[in-house]
């Protein structure tokens, strides 16, 4: 490595530094023992905290919820709604994060089903892959309530609680039609997701019935994220110079659209109507960029789902399909949604 140093100097006993070698080998392990100890202590700490919860199953009934991801404020709010109602009853809720893995969701829920919970709330990673879990729950006589995203095996679940997505689409169309009766609009749909399909159905229904002057220039399939929506919107703006309105199916998509519209220098000329009711979108409504968003109420979905579970446990009948109302957010009321 150092060519200027003659090799015989390296081999000289004074320069070989033989004492350093074992030391270098030892050091990481000397460091390792306290590390090991620390990790064990952390471990014990974590376990202890959970112990009172688990050691006293007599103290309240067990409920569990599995979300496709907890990396979304929508589901965090939904979880809060569930938790509030369940803890008011003196019971406890275990929240499970499937991390977009159906197998993890299935395993997590089979762990819980072994414990004979009072009920399970399920937000499926995908609706094809939950059948095994639904069958296992039925065999164990555990009622399942689906939240947010519907499943096809409706006969295997007690109830499905979700936003009224068709109405959310209708509200968006109404807001658009009233603002621009002659709008030339693009729809950015996400056809894999039932909720998004419903929104588009409500949207086109109202446009067709009440606003014959509005024409739909293009319909494109986009995953509802800002990153995915932005380039698609830019292309649409290039292709249709007269495009003056867009319906992206959710707030993240809408924010991508606003960014594309600004970049194309058509700020304020293209009307954006969307669905979700997030704080970010409300901000855009106040400051310009987005015209309206149909707000969903995830916390309400959670509390209604928990309510349905308690009704069922009390022997009362429960509606198979519970739709949670949505509200139109415009400049008039956006301030309430910028919490």
């Amino acid at each position: 490595m150092i060519p200027t140093v003659p090799s015989r100097i390296n081999s000289h006993p004074m320069n070989r530094q033989p004492d350093l070698l074992p030391l270098a080998r030892l050091k990481p392990f000397r460091f390792f023992r306290p590390l090991l100890l620390c990790s064990l202590i952390t471990l014990m700490g974590c376990e202890k905290k959970s112990a009172p919860n688990a050691a006293a199953p007599a103290r309240g009934r067990l409920f569990a919820v599995s979300f496709q991801t907890m990396n979304n404020p929508f589901f965090v709010d939904l979880n809060d709604g569930l938790k509030q109602v369940i803890e008011e009853h003196g019971d406890r809720l275990v929240t499970l994060d499937a991390q977009f893995s159906s197998l993890k969701q299935k395993n997590d829920l089979s762990d819980v089903i072994e414990q004979k919970p009072a009920a399970i709330f399920l937000n499926p990673v995908n609706w094809e892959s939950v059948r095994g879990t639904l069958i296992a729950a039925r065999n164990a006589k555990v009622p399942v309530i689906v939240v947010d995203a519907p499943v096809p095996d409706a006969e295997l679940v007690l109830a499905q609680v979700a936003s009224d997505n068709v109405e959310a689409g209708r509200l968006a169309a109404q807001a658009l039609g009233e603002a621009r009766p002659k709008a030339r609009v693009a729809i950015l749909q996400y056809s894999v997701n039932k909720a998004c399909v419903d929104r588009v159905a409500g949207f086109t229904e109202v446009l067709g019935k009440r606003f014959p002057g509005v024409s739909i220039l293009a319909t494109q399939d986009v995953k509802g994220t800002s990153e995915a929506t932005r380039p698609v919107m830019r292309d649409l703006l290039e292709r249709f110079p007269d495009l003056d309105a867009v319906f992206p199916i959710n707030d993240p998509g809408a924010i991508g659209c606003v960014s594309a519209i600004d970049a194309a220098g058509r700020s304020g000329k293209v009307l954006v109507v969307t669905v979700d009711g997030s704080r970010e979108a409300a901000q855009f409504i106040l400051n310009g960029g987005i015209h309206s968003t149909s707000a969903q109420f995830p916390k309400k979905i959670g509390s209604l789902a928990a309510g349905a579970a308690y009704d069922h446990l009390a022997g009362k009948p429960v509606d198979k399909e519970i739709k949670v109302p949505v509200t139109l957010v415009t400049k008039a009321n956006a301030a309430e949604f910028v919490k």
């Binding site: 090991l36 159906s102 892959s129």
Partner: protein
């Protein structure tokens, strides 16, 4: 004998964890819960068996998660027209084929296995996403034989667990009773020395990757049957779980050290942890921390013990 000694700490760790969770929840050691545990760990254990072979050769395989998804989707695509056996062949065959690619490139070039299999992971994921536009593919309920792979029981034991045990036995036999096993250990210990003793190291390495890919295909079939659908986007991060199981089980990333029994115990320990923490109602944020700490502690104590006795 030496083997038993190496396994003892893992065994005691597993027993300790079982006792710990039993203290938290009395029903933890019930028969049905333990059978459920066996079913749950089967996919990870089968991936980890293949991973062990590759790790023994001194390599690593990051593509198993994507191959699991591809194996499952390929089987689901073939199943309606080709029937049960064609689906099995497609699922396992496609895994083995990509494994062959991994092995040939890793053995013949100087590209590190980490990079080779990282590339394969992306290519295989892309192939899986070609099926059904990336959407899940449901398995018709009439495909009873195929669905039985993941859901039925033999004498009360879930079939995936039986496959896991059978593959464990086969893998152990391969490592300890065959010449191939000897060659794999020799090669992982020192590639150069193995080559000088006349072992065809390239062949040994390629076979390890082929088996790893094929096992990923098997895991894909089992997952697909369990979920009643093949998901092109599934299996992300599964390679890391498999590596964790092998590492906890005492496999050394320098190659040449590790056993199937160790890996099985590693998968069991991780499975007990997952199940126990879920059933103890530990918040998922703590579960990540605990799992990380346990993996570090398990591998650390193993490394520490070996340097002590050296």
């Amino acid at each position: 004998m030496k083997n038993c000694k190496a396994i003892l700490p893992l065994l005691s760790a597993a027993v300790l964890l079982l006792a710990f969770f039993r203290a938290l929840a009395p029903e933890f050691l019930s028969g049905s819960n333990l059978l459920d545990l066996a079913q749950q760990i089967s996919v990870n254990a089968i991936l980890a068996f293949g991973m062990t072979l590759v790790i023994l050769s001194g390599g690593i395989d990051l593509s198993v998660g994507a191959l699991l998804a591809l194996g499952g989707t390929a089987a689901a695509a073939v199943l309606p027209a080709g029937g049960f056996f064609a689906a099995l062949a497609a699922g396992i065959g496609v895994g083995a084929l990509f494994g062959l690619g991994n092995g040939l490139v890793a053995a013949r070039t100087r590209i590190p296995p980490f990079i080779v299999t990282l590339a394969t992971m992306l290519v295989a994921r892309g192939c899986a996403l070609r099926f059904n536009e990336g959407r899940p593919m449901g398995i018709a309920l009439t495909q009873e034989t195929f669905l039985a792979l993941g859901n039925s029981r033999c004498a009360g034991v879930p079939l995936p667990a039986i496959f896991m045990v059978a593959l464990f036995a086969l893998g152990s036999g391969l490592l300890h009773r065959t010449r191939y096993g000897q060659h794999l250990y020799a090669m992982g210990g020192s590639r150069e020395a193995a080559r000088f003793t006349g072992i065809g190291v390239a062949r040994v390495e390629v076979i390890a990757y082929v088996l790893c890919g094929a096992l990923a295909g098997v895991a894909g079939l089992i997952q697909t049957a369990q979920l009643y659908s093949a998901e092109p986007a599934s299996g992300q991060g599964f390679e890391l779980n498999a590596i964790a199981a092998a590492a906890v089980g005492g496999a050394s990333f320098k190659g040449g050290r590790g056993t199937m029994l160790g890996t099985l115990l590693g998968a069991i320990i991780i499975g007990i942890l997952d199940k126990g923490l879920n059933q103890a109602g530990v918040h998922f944020s703590f579960q990540y921390m605990v799992k990380g700490a346990v993996i570090l502690a398990a591998v650390g104590s193993d490394v520490w013990r070996r340097t002590e006795t050296r």
